[in-house]
C-alpha cells in the first residue's frame, strides 16, 4: 500500500442550479519522498481535490466521498477533531498567492509560530525561536529581525518562503503546494522550486504540486496526473507523460504553450473552445467538444461513452482516458512534428 492512496475521491457541491461535480472519481498513489504533479486548467478540480485531502471543505457546502488513505488511515472517516489534529501536522499546504494567504494584521513570526503551537504544547517564546529557526532554514536573511515584520513588508518571494516555513514547521509527511510559484517572477520561481526540492530531500515528505505550468511539472514531478473536468485523463510517470503523452488534451497543453527554445515561426496550436461547465459537463468524454482527434474514433463513442482510465499502448502504469486506439502513432506522426520538429529531424537522422 502506498503512503498516500486516494481512491475514487468525489467532491460535489450542491447548488441551486444542480450539483457541481468538481472532482468526480479521482484515484492516485504517492510514496514518501516522491512528488506528484497535478496539471489542469481552472475548474479542472485540481485545487478542490487537494483541499479535500486536507479536509478543508465544510460539510455544509460540499459532499466528499471515496477514500483518502494516509499511511493506512482513511482521512475521510476521521472525526472533525481527529482531522484537525492532523491538519498542519501530518498534512500541510502552501497556497498560490502568499500575500493574500497570510493574515495582514499579524507578524510573519506570529503566524509561523502559531502553526507550531497548535500541535505542540510549548510557550510562545519557544515557538518563536522555532519560527526563527525555520525562517532561517528557508533562506530568509536576518530571520531574528524579520520575524517581527508584517507580511506586506516582505517581498513576494520572501513571503512564499515564509509560507513554506509555516507549512514545514511540523515536519509533515505530506505537503501539498497549490500553484506555489504562479504569482512569482521567474528568477524567484526558480529559487522557490530549488528550495522545495532541497527541503523535500531533507524531510523525506511526499509532495503534491498543483500547477497549470507544464514547465514546473517537468522540473519537479516524479509522477504526473492530468485533470480535466474533475477527472484524471492521463496518469503516469513524469518522463512518460511528457515524452509520450497519449491523451489529446495533454497534447493540446503541450502544443499551445510557446517555449524559449522552439521554432518561432510555428503558429501556436490552441485548444479550441473553453473549459466545460461542471454543472452541465459534456456527455461521454468531457473533452470531446474540444478534441481535434474525435474523427479517428469510430461512431460517436466519444459523445456517448466515458472512456475508462486504462493503460495506453506503452506501459501498464501509463494510464489514459481516451477512446483512441493508437494514440502513440497519432502523437508520433501528427503532434510531435508540430511541437518539436527538431526532435523529429534528429530521429530521422
Amino acid at each position: 500500500m502506498a503512503f498516500l492512496s486516494v481512491r475514487d475521491l468525489k467532491v460535489h457541491f450542491p447548488t441551486v442550479d444542480g450539483i457541481v461535480k468538481a472532482t468526480d472519481g479521482l484515484s492516485f498513489d504517492l510514496e514518501k519522498g516522491k512528488t506528484l504533479g497535478i496539471v489542469g486548467e481552472s475548474g479542472s478540480g485540481k485545487s478542490v481535490s487537494s483541499s479535500a485531502i486536507l479536509g478543508l471543505h465544510r460539510k455544509t457546502s460540499a459532499m466528499v466521498s471515496g477514500e483518502i488513505l494516509l499511511d493506512g488511515t482513511d482521512l475521510l472517516k476521521l472525526s472533525d477533531e481527529q482531522m484537525r489534529r492532523r491538519r498542519g501536522k501530518d498534512v500541510a499546504m502552501i497556497f498560490q498567492d502568499p500575500l493574500s494567504a497570510m493574515h495582514p494584521y499579524y507578524t510573519v513570526g506570529n503566524q509561523v509560530a502559531e502553526a507550531y503551537r497548535v500541535h505542540h504544547n510549548v510557550s510562545k517564546k519557544v515557538a518563536k525561536a522555532r519560527a526563527v529557526e525555520m525562517l532561517d532554514r528557508v533562506g530568509i536573511p536576518q530571520p531574528d529581525r524579520r520575524v517581527d515584520d508584517y507580511p506586506h513588508q516582505f517581498s513576494g518571494g520572501m513571503r512564499q518562503r515564509a509560507m513554506i516555513a509555516m507549512g514545514l514547521i511540523n515536519n509533515p509527511s505530506l505537503l501539498i503546494a497549490d500553484e506555489p510559484t504562479t504569482a512569482l517572477d521567474v528568477t524567484v520561481q526558480a529559487q522557490i522550486l530549488d528550495l522545495l526540492q532541497d527541503l523535500q530531500k531533507e524531510f523525506e515528505s511526499a509532495v503534491i504540486i498543483i500547477t497549470h505550468d507544464l514547465g514546473v511539472i517537468a522540473e519537479m514531478a516524479d509522477d504526473v496526473l492530468v485533470m480535466y473536468a474533475g477527472r484524471a485523463v492521463e496518469y503516469g510517470s513524469g518522463n512518460e507523460i511528457l515524452t509520450h503523452p497519449e491523451m489529446p488534451y495533454t497534447w493540446g497543453l503541450l502544443s499551445s504553450v510557446p517555449d524559449v527554445t522552439g521554432d518561432t515561426e510555428a503558429r501556436l496550436i490552441p485548444i479550441p473552445g473553453n473549459p466545460p461547465s461542471l454543472l452541465n459537463p459534456p456527455s461521454g468524454c468531457a473533452f470531446h467538444p474540444r478534441c481535434a482527434h474525435r474523427d479517428k474514433v469510430p461512431g460517436d463513442l466519444c459523445v456517448t461513452t466515458l472512456p475508462e482510465l486504462a493503460p495506453g499502448t506503452r506501459t501498464e502504469t501509463h494510464l489514459k482516458r481516451c477512446h483512441l486506439a493508437n494514440p502513440d502513432v497519432v502523437y508520433e506522426q501528427e503532434i510531435l512534428p508540430e511541437i518539436a520538429p527538431e526532435l523529429v529531424e534528429e530521429k530521422q537522422a
Partner: protein, 434 residues
C-alpha cells in the same frame, strides 16, 4: 447557423473606416461546433509569427524616457524626499506593423513604460514620437485624436470591462465618443468587430459576466480595435488566462496585427510568450533597458548576465521532456528598491560576475551587433564574459572604474532609439559595420 461566419459579407463601411477585407479570413472556421459555447480561430495558412522588418519606418520612437514618482515625507509639511525611479532613461523604436516586447520582473518599469506610451502617464522627461509627432507633453484635449490611434489591452479581463455595460456598448463607445460613425451604423460595426475577434456577433447585447475569461479578453481586443489604431500597447494580455486559452488569444493578436498592420508594444513577464510574439525584445531591470536585440540574438546569444539568468530560470517543458535540463543561474536575493537604486550598474547587487567598476560607473547601453545592444561592463555570452571591463577604454576609466587620465573617452550613441550602422565589436575591440 453552421456556415454563417465564413460566408457572410461584411457591412460596407465609410471610407474612413474601410480597413476590413471584404471576406474576412480571420473569423472563418472550418466546422464551428456550437457557436454559443465555442469560439474557434482557425489557423490561417502562411500566417506565422511576425518577422522584424528592419527597414520599416518607425511609428513610435521613444527617447530617454523617464518616469519619477515623488515620495513624500511624513512630516507636517509634506516635502518630496525622493523619487521612485520607475523608468529611468529608456529609448527604443517600434516599426510600423512591428512588435517590441518589454520583459522583466515586477517593478522593472515595463508597465509604466507602456502607460507612458499611451499617455496614461505624463513622462517626467524624454520624448515619445508617434507617427512623427511628439506626444510626450500634449494636453488632454490634444490627446483625444491620439486615443484613436494608440490603444491599450489590459491584463485582467475581469476588471477592465465595466460589468454594467453590454458588450455592444463597451465596443461601440469609442465610435460614439469620437463621432466616427452615425448612431445607426454603430451596431453593424460592433457586430463586425465581434466577428473579427471570434465571438458570436449576435451576443452584442450580453454583459461581460456572461463570457469566460478568454472571451472577455477578446472583447477587450475588439474594443481596442474599434478605432483602427496604429499602435496597440498590450500589458500582460494573456497572463490572467488559462493555458489553453492563452494560445487562442496570442494567435488572435497576431492575426489582427497582420491584417490591420498594427504595431505592438507587448509588455509581459513570460519570456516564451514575448519571444513568440515579438521580433525585437528589450529586457528591463529597475527602470532601465539592460539588453535589447532581435529575437534570435537575445534568446540564443544573450550578453547580459541578467538576461542569461532570466532565460535559465524559465522552466522548459520540452527541454525537460527530452532529458536535457539547462543549468540554472541562481540569482540571490530580491530586486532592490527603485527609490534608492544601487550605484553604478543597478544589477550589480545580484550579479554573479560583478566587479569593482560596476559599483562606480554605470555601464552605457553599448551596441555590440547589428541589432544588439547591451548595458554591461563585462558583456559576453554565457561562460565567455571577459575578465576585464570592455567598456573601460571607451569610458576613459581604468579597470576598477577610477578615472584614467591617459585615456580618450569615445562618445557612444548607445542610448539613442534604434540602431546605428556601426557598432563596437567585442571580439576585436574596434568599431565594426555590416
Amino acid at each position: 447557423m453552421n456556415n454563417k461566419r465564413g460566408d457572410d459579407k461584411l457591412t460596407p463601411l465609410p471610407a474612413t473606416a474601410n480597413f476590413l477585407p471584404q471576406d474576412d479570413p480571420i473569423s472563418r472556421t472550418e466546422d464551428p461546433v456550437d457557436q454559443d459555447e465555442i469560439d474557434f480561430v482557425a489557423p490561417i495558412e502562411g500566417h506565422a509569427a511576425s518577422v522584424a522588418d528592419p527597414n520599416a519606418k518607425p511609428i513610435l520612437e521613444v527617447r530617454d524616457l523617464k518616469m519619477y514618482f515623488p515620495v513624500k515625507s511624513s512630516g507636517i509639511i509634506r516635502r518630496t524626499i525622493g523619487h521612485v525611479q520607475a523608468v529611468d532613461g529608456v529609448s527604443f523604436q517600434v516599426p510600423e506593423g512591428g512588435a517590441l516586447g518589454l520583459v522583466g520582473e515586477s517593478g522593472c518599469g515595463k508597465s509604466t513604460t507602456g502607460r507612458m506610451v499611451t499617455r496614461l502617464y505624463e513622462p517626467t522627461s524624454g520624448t515619445i514620437t508617434f507617427d512623427g509627432r511628439d506626444i510626450s507633453r500634449i494636453s488632454t484635449r490634444q490627446l483625444k485624436p491620439l486615443r484613436r490611434e494608440v490603444q491599450m489591452i489590459f491584463q485582467d479581463p475581469y476588471t477592465s470591462l465595466n460589468p454594467r455595460h453590454s458588450v455592444g456598448a463597451i465596443i461601440g463607445a469609442p465610435l460614439a465618443i469620437h463621432k466616427v460613425l452615425p448612431r445607426n451604423k454603430i451596431l453593424p460595426r460592433v457586430q463586425e468587430l465581434l466577428e473579427i475577434v471570434g465571438l458570436n456577433p449576435e451576443h452584442y447585447n450580453r454583459y461581460p459576466h456572461e463570457f469566460s475569461g478568454g472571451q472577455r479578453q477578446r472583447i477587450g481586443i475588439a474594443r481596442a480595435l474599434t478605432l483602427q489604431p496604429k499602435l496597440l500597447v498590450a500589458d500582460e494580455p494573456v497572463s490572467a488566462l488559462d493555458v489553453s486559452i492563452q494560445a487562442q488569444v496570442i494567435n488572435l493578436l497576431q492575426d489582427v496585427q497582420r491584417e490591420f498592420n498594427i504595431a505592438f508594444v507587448f509588455v509581459a513577464h513570460d519570456l516564451a510568450v514575448v519571444r513568440h510574439f515579438c521580433p525585437e525584445i528589450a529586457v528591463m531591470y529597475l527602470g532601465k533597458i539592460v539588453e535589447i536585440a532581435d529575437r534570435d540574438t537575445l534568446y540564443n546569444r544573450p550578453n547580459h548576465p541578467y538576461t542569461q539568468a532570466l532565460l535559465s530560470a524559465v522552466p522548459d517543458v520540452k527541454q525537460a521532456a527530452i532529458g536535457g535540463r539547462r543549468e540554472r543561474i541562481r540569482l540571490e536575493g530580491d530586486v532592490p528598491s527603485p527609490i534608492n537604486p544601487p550605484s553604478g550598474c543597478r544589477f550589480r547587487t545580484r550579479c554573479p560576475i560583478a566587479q569593482e567598476i560596476c559599483a562606480r560607473v554605470e555601464p552605457p547601453l553599448l551596441q555590440i551587433g547589428k541589432r544588439h545592444k547591451v548595458a554591461c561592463h563585462f558583456a559576453g555570452e554565457l561562460g565567455h564574459h571577459p575578465d576585464r571591463p570592455v567598456t573601460a577604454p571607451l569610458l576613459g576609466v581604468d579597470d576598477t572604474g577610477a578615472p584614467d587620465p591617459g585615456a580618450t573617452p569615445t562618445t557612444m550613441a548607445g542610448n539613442e532609439p534604434g540602431y546605428s550602422d556601426t557598432w563596437y565589436d567585442l571580439e576585436r575591440k574596434t568599431m565594426a559595420s555590416a
